[in-house]
Amino acid sequence: MGDQDNIVIKAERITKSFPGVRALKKLDFEVVRGEVHALCGENGAGKSTLMKIIVREYIEEEGNIFIEGQNAKDLGIRGVQKLGLSLIHQDLNLIPMLTVAQNICLGREPVTRFGTIDWKAMRLKATEFLTELTSEIDVEERVENLSISEQQLVAIARSLVTSPGILILDEPTARLDLKTSDQFFSFIEKAKKKGLTVVYISHRLEEIYRICDRITVLRDGSKIITSRVNELPQTDLVKYMLGREITQQVPKEKVPIGKTRLTVSNLFPKEKGEDINFDLKSGEILGIVGSIGAGKSEVARAIFGADPRKKGTISVAGKEVRINTPQDAIREGLALIPEERRDQGLVGSESVRRNITLAALKKKFCGGPSWIKQDKEIQAVKETIKALAIATPTTEQEVQFLSGGTQQKVVVGKWLMSDSKIYMFDEPTKGIDVGGKYDIYKLVVDLARQGAGVIFISNELTEVLSLCDRILVMFNGQIIKELITEATNREEVLFYVMGGRDYAETANNS
């Protein structure tokens, strides 16, 4: 690192603290021109905080940041943007009511010589950036009508408007489907050749090793190591992130498969999907894979009564049941741990205790019509916290201050409390760090061992392959393939996820 001109971002001994949240401690960080630099660490390690300090959304308490050699103390948000720095947040921060073009050009609207907005130029500009990302989204469409994957692309396109020299991406692929991810990676590779510097925050090992040159690992607000990616084996990386060694990624164990718990026949979800048929046995973990927009969540929501369905019957333990609302589903022993847990599964400003007992309050802890037996409630919550190893200081901690993985466990705790027998996890590990993922896998396996049936919806093939007994592949709203995990492999699953037909034949021909 002799060449000082080549260091585009330099952070020196940065310290920052928030009330109740882990801080950055005298952290050093350097990014060299033209590299793709991965930033790794568990949730709460300080990755996002560091990036927000670099783009001046937060101000450090101690230390110095230099962008292109200039001290960031003198630069505001606009100032660092002028130096070519652009951050794409984890939460997309788009404006749902405005069109794609309006969102992409927000803050940089082209104007006519009268000072009014030049709509034509705006559309052209937006189209140009989307084309660069090989996307064909209609720029006149309102953002609220786009899929999550498309929204992510719009957010990326917006950051390109400033023609940045340095792009900071905070988990961009968490929202992209597999096909779009591929397009996105080839865009990054192209842009890198043109001299773009990228800081890439990700939880996905596969991507890091595919597109990154160097990597910095953070833990508890400190830097652990910076290394070239190809000199750092995956196992070491995980070790540095966790500070402890994980020998086995997923703790799958053989569980005897019992009687049928759930049968779904001729299900047509209202939003997307047709003629879904499958069953789920006790002790079984059934994976549902497919790219974003394949209709996985829609199936789960339709079964749970969260969305209306066009038709279809659902049987629990061989008996047909009527499920029209989530309340019906809960009564039948179903549980859905939704993808957007913060919106749909939790009351953020309430305590861990309140959240865990929410669904079972009436059934278990009410003395009179509405009298809550607090002692009993607290006792039960404490047991749940212990059983699930929920990392919370007290039962009264507000859940919004807990990490993503811990929040996920609180949602599960809620369903455990209400004695569910069929669990549907929708992308439970999305945006969760390695340690948190491990805990969730363990939890899923435990549930299966206790005789529950588990539906595990995921986009990450690795976890599905090592966790599930059976895998259903969805494409375009239909189940196009059922695979037995023991008799398949990664390539075959991916083949079907991408909409392929007849893997054996294709493999033989090539």
Binding site: E57, G76, I77, R78, Q81, L87, H89, D91, N93, L94, I95, P96, M97, L98, Q102, N103, L106, G107, R108, E109, V111, G115, T116, I117, E136, I137, D138, E141, E144, N145, L146, E150, R158, A306, D307, P326, D343, Q344
Partner: protein, 320 residues
């Protein structure tokens, strides 16, 4: 991205309130005494002016995701000062300046309380409303003051072509507001603020400054509404703003039920203002007692808020 085909249901959903407006006009033409006379229709327009102007001020604030109820106080205070200063013999020029200064002052006060000190806009603006009502009472001692100079009254009452000047102000202000919102950068940011303020901050726009300016501009518009209202009536009646309080809210929320998926918008507010007086005028023609007017307005407000909430609810995903 596939375009959804437009179904009849969408049309009813999007323009339902506009249809209701047309149906109401037809209904009253047949049933209500003298409803469809040119005089009555002009009355509806004239009565809607100050209400409409004031509702535009509120609409800007609503679009940005806040609320400002101070107009109910500002209108009365401006009216009292206008009539009072003229009675004391001050020139109309100076008086007009003072009236606008009141709007600027209350707007700044709201902006400081809500944007700088971060108080909830509902409470802060209600407090400012009461302060203005108190000031009005102190200034005019609770006495109605009339303005008799026809030249001054003609500022609002003069016929310009087929319409009184006041109605013209309403339309000019409408075009200005609509243009600002849809054709300028500032307008984009105001819309965006109401949806997702973080997104606006993130692109380096000074969101707080824009919000500050919104309250100041709204204050000025409220003052102008008070000015027009006073000259339309020809004097300052005690607590004139209070009379308009419910109507302005109802007009804005009728507007949200008219266009644009349950969001406040200028064309909607304009139609909402006309619609409101059409209904009131129609019901009066049918023999509704004057003391039932607030009841009718309250019902209209509830219905329009309900319509726009249902429509928002349809767009957002069902949550559980």
């Amino acid at each position: 991205m596939q375009k959804q085909p437009i179904t009849p249901k969408d049309i009813i959903n999007n323009y339902g309130a506009t249809f209701a407006f047309v149906i109401a006009i037809i209904f009253f033409s047949f049933t209500s005494m003298g409803f469809f006379s040119g005089q009555n229709l002009q009355n509806i327009l004239v009565q809607s002016t100050s209400l409409g102007i004031c509702a535009f001020g509120l609409t800007i604030v609503l679009i940005s995701g806040e609320i400002d109820l101070s107009y109910a106080g500002v209108i009365g205070l401006v009216g009292a000062v206008l009539a009072g200063m003229l009675k004391e013999g001050h020139s109309i020029g100076l008086t007009t300046l003072v009236c606008m200064a009141i709007g600027l002052g209350t707007g700044l006060l709201n902006a400081i309380l809500i944007v700088v000190l971060n108080l909830p806009s509902f409470l802060a603006s209600v407090a400012v409303m009461f302060i203005c009502m108190g000031a009005e009472r102190i200034y005019n001692q609770g006495i109605t003051t009339w303005i008799r100079d026809p030249e001054i009254l003609s500022i609002v009452q003069a016929q310009v072509g087929p319409l009184p000047a006041g109605v013209l102000y309403l339309f000019v202000l409408f075009i200005l507001c609509w243009f600002l919102l849809t054709q300028t950068r500032a307008g984009q940011y105001i819309q965006a603020l109401g949806d997702n303020i973080d997104a606006v901050k993130e692109v380096g726009v000074r969101a707080q400054l824009i919000k500050f300016m919104i309250f100041v501009v709204a204050g000025l518009i409220f003052a102008f509404a008070g000015y027009v209202e006073t000259l339309r009536i020809g004097g300052a009646v005690m607590y004139a703003g209070k009379q308009l309080m419910l109507s302005v809210l109802a007009a804005c929320f009728l507007g949200t039920a008219t266009f644009k998926a349950g969001k406040a918008n200028f064309p909607g507010t304009l139609i909402g203002a006309f619609f409101l007086y059409t209904l009131l005028s129609g019901f009066t023609g049918l023999g509704m007692k004057f003391y039932l007017v607030p009841v009718a307005q309250g019902l209209i407000l509830i219905i329009s808020v309900a319509i726009s909430s249902v429509r928002r609810g349809k767009i957002e995903q069902v949550q559980f």
